[in-house]
Amino acid sequence: MSVTPRDEAYWTAQMLAIASQRDRKAFEVLFRHYGPRVKAFLIRTGLTPVVAEDCMQDVMVTLWRKAHLYDPARATVATWLFTIARNRKIDLIRKTRRPEPEDLPWGPEPEPAQADVVALQEDTRRLAEAVAQLPPKQRELVERAFYGELTHSEIAAETGLPMGTIKSRIRLAIERLRYAMQSDGPTPHTRAQQK
């Protein structure tokens, strides 16, 4: 079997190797791939490079320690790391633990269904593609809103657009993404996420 390093399944397999065998090689592979992006994300949201480096290290320590909690049917490795990085950053700033939704109860089968894992990986790939293909203006708005570079009213001030337009623009971008994800195939993506 050949795997290309770009394949989501490849990264998921590394995660599972850490969870089940404490595989250091797998950890280093994930570290070198995701570490620089986690750090860049943290810098982009306002941390200094020095603080971002420390925070990224915390995230990677968490990855090692909580690998057994990773559920490939509910998130890709990138999504999971994104949420860990986001939470860690907020905890650093606020000095209290941020509340997270109650975890879903574990089902009767401890192993996620392989079909769900594959479906989610496929959906996430399509989402990433859809994000990349958004018209530049919409993409920039989504990105800036997501990275907290501009509040809604600041976007309005900057572009001279009224608030209502901004909201509907962002909503349009979101709908476009949803549409892109649904029109490619009959994958029940909400089912995979809701599980």
Binding site: V61, F82, E100, P101, D103, L127, E143, G148, Q194
Partner: protein, 218 residues
């Protein structure tokens, strides 16, 4: 359980991006715990965050970074692997876990104080970025009409209330902008318990018109 007023996308996206004012985080986490459809939408926004993170540029790491992390992993006891993240609540708790953690337990741990007119409240948090409190409106009674600075979000945890033509039951969310005057009325039969969050610091000014505000500390 059917949610008829699900939490809005903008709050889920803000939560996913980590950009909400602190008091709203607890409300979103609690609402999502009760609403699978909102949980799925949140997961979608988090996937978007992951995609944006992977799409953006990379930042060079320090040369010794990997060794430093391995050193930390090997050098410190893995304490958070020992205590489980999963807590077993008693059967059918009223409060989802994120709220139980703030309250220090379920409904029976709440220390209610009178807020006047039969309404009771418990302030969980109050600060620059807003306030978080629990409200208990007696069955069949109305919340005193009140205005508020900033946005006020109400999540129903038990019972139900009516506001105009709309009914809000467990898991439903009502958002009221600063200029909205609303008068929620608790449904007959059961006291209505809500989590209420505002993003504006509390203000006490004026006299008579602000009396309700003073009682309720909205």
């Amino acid at each position: 359980m059917t949610i008829t007023h699900s939490i809005d996308d903008s709050y889920l996206m803000g939560f996913a991006a980590g950009l909400l004012p602190e008091p709203f985080d607890l409300l979103v986490a609690t609402a999502v715990s009760l609403d699978d459809e909102a949980r799925a939408r949140l997961a979608g926004f988090e996937a978007m965050g992951g995609a944006l993170m992977m799409e953006s540029e990379v930042a060079p790491l320090r040369d010794d970074t990997f060794d430093a992390v391995m050193g930390r992993i090997m050098g410190t006891p893995p304490d958070d692997m020992i205590h489980s993240d999963i807590k077993t609540p008693r059967m059918d708790p009223t409060f989802p876990q994120p709220l139980r953690e703030v309250v220090g337990g379920d409904l029976d741990e709440v220390r209610w104080r009178s807020a006047g007119m039969g309404v009771k409240q418990a302030i969980l948090r109050m600060g620059e970025s807003g306030s978080v409190r629990l409200l208990k409106i007696p069955a069949g009674k109305a919340m005193p009409d009140h205005g508020h600075k900033g946005t006020e979000i109400t999540l129903v945890l038990r019972g139900a209330f009516h506001d105009g033509a709309d009914r809000y039951g467990r898991g439903d969310v009502e958002v009221a902008d600063p200029d909205v005057h609303h008068t929620p009325v608790a449904e007959a039969g059961e006291d209505c318990i809500c989590l209420v969050v505002t993003d504006a610091p509390l203000e006490f000014q004026g006299l008579l018109p602000k009396i309700a505000q003073r009682f309720l500390q909205i």
